[in-house]
Symmetry: C2
Subunit: 209 residues, 2 copies
DNA sequence: CGGAACTCGTGATCCGATTCACAAGCGGGG
DNA sequence: CCCCGCTTGTGAATCGGATCACGAGTTCCG
């Protein structure tokens, strides 16, 4: 489930706040979801709370962490060092959570061979080597849209099976590769869509949900 | 629907590729979805394709653009000029799509009063003025988690009704305010979760979907 | 002119996720 | 020791989106 990371954050907050035990209600409140959903989600983990009491925060953190595989570290390569790519390569939160950025890829000859914020930059041609050398598990695509599919192909050829795509592109990859797309313009457009629907007294297109 | 922006991109590509007409099959292929879904989505727009022929690309672009309110421009304020905030403020794609970044907010006294990539930086105290002066419609929160809720409160108080939140926080806001959360660490954790589930021969926690 | 091939629009169906509702277990107080 | 209030776990019901399937309209060719 996509909610597990949120639960984990809420639980960490509770732990640092000194709580040793908590209820599905509190957790739901903090995570912005329904209490029943929390209980059902946690029941899939095989976790057992105590009826009448609630959940043990420390134990639950342990269970959720294990389910998420937080113990593992998954080396990441960032492809494309534009504004966004540089911010991602530089982002300290990733390493802390087990996703160290071990290398970056860019076509710019002026960058290749340099290190940016401690991250070595390589040519796309060396992608396969980089993946092999650092045991890269996840590729982040922050290239311009035109280069995205090619980059994805290279990542897949190099054996990467997880891709986080910021390129505003629909990537086609083999079935065994998982892609998660984050498109900032789309997010803004959705917000704009709702803004438009709420405001106008004049006729808007038609109800859409 | 969240798929409209994707359709619009696909349609634009088709238009520049010289197609004057297209089918739901082609559009589905390009957008990475099911053909029936495309037809159903478009039918909500009141759009009418021609049976046996397909859709007129130009007309469809017009319809989708209108539904999304692409004609409107929604001024954006970016709150928090860390790595990510700076990348967002600097991102040219936003202005092109009708979301000009008219101002940035940061607590750093060294930045206040400066302009970063042409974007003026203000103190959080001036947020209400900034919103009023530029008719800001959307607030982007790229602050550290600890400052996110406060920032959200200020945005709401200033009259902003749409928030794009990068802060890894569950924000609580009034009902009439729409929040879309983008959490990069969560995305990576989900990828890591699936990686972990696919690999190990030893027993993983339990099947989760 | 007739029919074959194609494509849209949409009611019907399916399926998973969410929510509801409640029995079962636990702890504390009298 | 018993009862009462609290919280979990989970089957049942509900909901909404995705998919299927097919009727209907269009084009084109023979």
């Amino acid at each position: 489930m996509a909610r597990l990371p949120v639960y984990l954050r809420s639980l960490s907050e509770l732990a640092t706040a000194g709580s040793s035990t908590t209820s599905s209600d509190v957790l739901a409140e903090r995570s912005g979801v329904n209490a029943a959903k929390v209980r059902k989600d946690l029941s899939y983990l095989g976790t057992h709370g105590t009826r009448g009491v609630g959940y043990d925060v420390r134990h639950l953190i342990f269970e959720v962490s294990r389910a998420l595989g937080v113990a593992n570290t998954w080396p990441v390569v960032v492809c494309g060092l534009g504004n966004l790519g540089r911010a991602l390569a530089n982002h300290t939160g990733f390493t802390e959570r087990g996703f160290p950025v071990v290398a970056a890829i860019d076509v710019n000859p002026a960058l290749i061979g340099m290190t940016v914020d401690g991250v070595p930059v390589h040519s796309p041609d060396r992608l396969a080597d980089v993946v092999a050398d650092h045991d890269v598990a996840i590729g982040v695509i922050a290239t311009p849209p035109g280069a995205a599919q090619d980059t994805a192909d290279r990542l897949v050829a190099a054996g990467v099976r997880s891709i986080l795509d910021f390129s505003s592109t629909v990537l086609s990859v083999p079935d065994h590769v998982e892609v998660r797309a984050v498109d900032l313009s789309t997010e803004l457009q959705i917000l704009g869509f709702h803004l438009q629907r709420d405001l106008p007294a004049d006729r808007s297109p038609r109800s859409l949900a």
